[in-house]
Subunit: 318 residues, 2 copies
């Protein structure tokens, strides 16, 4: 695996940001005095939980569908996703009048299926194995000549994600660190590209559940490692790195902090108690990294990406 590029210029990433700006929400950045005092650092939460479709994935999906050619747009798109990308691609495609087909595992949460169905009738259920997901997706893709859009391992998806950090660094130019959760690797690779283009001193750090720390191990071994379990509350982070985003991570990310399940719950609860916001466990992983490594982050200015807020409010882990 080699990188087909070394970096993108600020101008190029600005163009991406401009092209999606009328479709996406410029999400707020929140701070809280008590949280800063607990952390001994200044935290700037970039709140993608308030993004359309409830997560940063709407940026990815929007950039991906805008970059289709006219025949691809006419035929439509397909993805398989158990969660946020399914909602995001449904909504982004609807906004562009493009047909989207979504393959979701039967055991995906009912409220996420409902969210997809609110803007999209083409929902097909599959078994929860990756083999069945891919098999069914391929079959539908071939039948209708659709373009497959991977939720994280796709360059337009990664570039769409980069706009989270482009926005954040535009308003907060002096951050020392930006912390991203890592699942499939799409958010952190987009963030790293933006950080490289927009800042000479800010460093992107990853946060990953210990139970599914394929990225942490991959960074050590310098090859893609795999998870043997999906046993984490952070359902958005169960997926594995891909061959497009891993080289970017390898080049730009030096540190990934592993987070235990109880630390995810504590971080989620602290945001609920102090900011009165309910965020999904995957989002809490990034904040948990600050709470875990207080010495490292002491006195620093830190952007923490709250990646999404799609959680069942009547089924909280605390």
């Amino acid at each position: 695996m080699s990188l087909p590029f070394t970096a993108f210029s600020k101008d190029y990433l600005d163009e991406i940001k401009t092209s999606i700006t009328k479709y996406v929400t410029k999400t707020p950045v929140l701070s809280n005095k008590i949280i800063n005092s607990i952390c001994g650092a200044e935290i700037f939460f970039k709140c993608e939980n308030f993004q359309k479709s409830g997560s940063f994935k709407f940026r990815a999906a929007t950039n991906a569908v805008l970059n289709l050619d006219s025949s691809q747009k006419k035929n439509g798109v397909i993805t398989h996703s158990s969660g946020n990308f399914a909602q995001a691609l449904s909504l982004a495609s609807q906004a562009q009048n493009i047909t989207a087909h979504i393959v979701m595992p039967k055991n995906a949460p009912e409220f996420k299926k409902r969210a997809v169905l609110q803007c999209n009738n083409n929902l097909v259920e599959c078994q929860s194995t990756i083999i069945d997901r891919e098999k069914i997706s391929k079959k539908i893709q071939d039948k209708y000549d659709l373009t497959f859009i991977h939720p994280s391992n796709n360059l337009n998806v990664i570039l769409g994600n980069s706009t989270v950090v482009s926005e954040l660094l535009e308003d907060h130019t002096d951050l020392d660190y930006i912390i991203c959760p890592i699942g499939g690797g799409g958010l952190i690779s987009g963030s790293a590209l933006a950080c490289e283009a927009y800042s000479s001193s800010c460093e992107v750090i990853g946060a990953e559940p210990t139970n599914v720390n394929d990225a942490y191990r991959s960074l050590q071994s310098k090859q893609i490692e795999y998870n043997s379990t999906t046993d984490t509350l952070a359902d958005g982070l169960r997926t594995n790195l891909g061959d497009i985003n891993f080289p970017i991570i390898l080049k730009y990310v030096n540190t990934i902090i592993c987070i235990d399940e109880i630390e995810i719950i504590n971080a989620m609860k602290l945001i609920y108690d102090k900011l009165d916001m309910l965020i999904e466990p995957s989002s809490a992983v990034a904040f948990a990294a600050v709470l875990k490594e207080k010495e490292k982050f002491k006195g620093k200015k830190i952007g923490v990406i709250i990646s999404g807020g799609n959680v069942e409010n009547n089924n909280l882990p605390f």
Copy 2:
């Protein structure tokens, strides 16, 4: 009661906004597709729950302390408040190195007392009657030669509050209505002044719990009416109109919508479910007005002021 002014110019309100801008948070404006679809209107939530100290009152308190003369600053300030203004004045005074004394009723929520104590040692408890509040405040005020700042019936407080709507209308110039909760009347009178200065077509509408609808009745009788009970979940709206803000309301506000307790809870729950935000019952009253009068608001663009988020997360009414 007569108004000592007919209106403030946009330039003057801009000056107020500029003078407090480095102390206050420019709060985000959130929208949600599902909520819009439920309401049949476009709702723009101005989220003062993310303001410093957790409510718009921080704007009021900041403007009030910035407008003290040097001897007043040296001696310090005092207020009596059961809630958000107590926290706001403590924090705003601390930021300006001004001593603040806070008189709070014994039965105020513990978490609000704790929030005051986090930045202020001068907390004095009193009985929950208005007579005892005022008696104890006066005694301390005289002893230390303090400036008394009323939480709502004070022109600098009202002008500080006006910045919520100045910000909202600057970013969303084409709103048809702005809906404010009414308690003491400080927020709606500030909002009405800003609306008058910034927009030629937008109308400010009040929302008030039916159980404490002194403002609704005052608007009808054209004199200040009083509440015989404080029996509402919306603890921030139990207070009465004052002689400084009532003339402003009388001049600029034509409509106040009365909201029942169950409607407050339903609105609070809908924001929790769809926006994953926990807001205080007083804030939910404004949104409840849209849900109650769907026909009136159909197809309109509506700013809804979420006035604060100070609620005990483990003691929700739903």
